[in-house]
């Protein structure tokens, strides 16, 4: 089980801010592949990975990073703070 969080337009496209996902995906990319197969809204949210960022346990990471030991994963667009 992993906590999956969505922010900004990713949250809006998927329609919820967080959910728990039962997965044995080895990497972030593997998890995304699983989600895309679930429902159209995931396919829409993950259609262009170059416009997405990912954080593992609240640290920015890469899409090919392993998920072993990770408890929280977050997907969001490039940040626009300041």
């Amino acid at each position: 089980m992993i906590d999956v969080l969505y922010f900004a337009w990713v949250r809006e496209r998927i329609g919820l801010p967080r959910e728990q996902v039962e997965t044995s995906a080895a990497t972030v990319n593997d998890l995304i592949a699983e989600l895309i197969l679930r429902e159209e809204r995931y396919a829409l949210a993950f259609s262009d990975l170059s416009s997405l960022r990912v954080a593992l346990d609240q640290e920015l990471s890469d899409f090919d990073a392993p998920l072993a030991g990770v408890r929280e994963i977050a997907f969001f667009p490039p940040m626009t703070g300041g």
Binding site: F7, A8, W9, A74, M79, T80, G81, G82
Partner: protein, 147 residues
Amino acid sequence: MQIRVQSEPFDMGAESNAFAQSATGAGAIVTFTGITRDSAAGDLAVMEIEHYPGMTERALTSIAEQAMQRWHLTDCLVIHRYGALAPTDPIMMVATASRHRANAFAAAEFLMDYLKSRAPFWKKEITASKTDWVAARAEDEAALKRW
């Protein structure tokens, strides 16, 4: 070193004075304040700022610790709001204190460049006619390369 992520407004003048008073030994204090600008059409009703509670504080603390060490700051402050802001509302501020001005300026610019593109905040412009997520600017990402 102080990091605050809050929905409440802040008073940049009062924060500047409090920061200057606690920054003992400093000869130079730089502050940067980001102000909510109106939309291009001049019809911005609300700027909504979303953030990632938990990660936001971690990211800002890490950026501020790097700035403290690299430029030998005597102190530094980061305040960032989230929630609904109106045009001309202050969004955020950073302050840096050091013995000489070059370090205070460099550290403030570094903090701003990292905060813009590496702290998990997202802005949404809401006008009478539409709602748009603000797109990241290529020059903000490029600005990180100089550090």
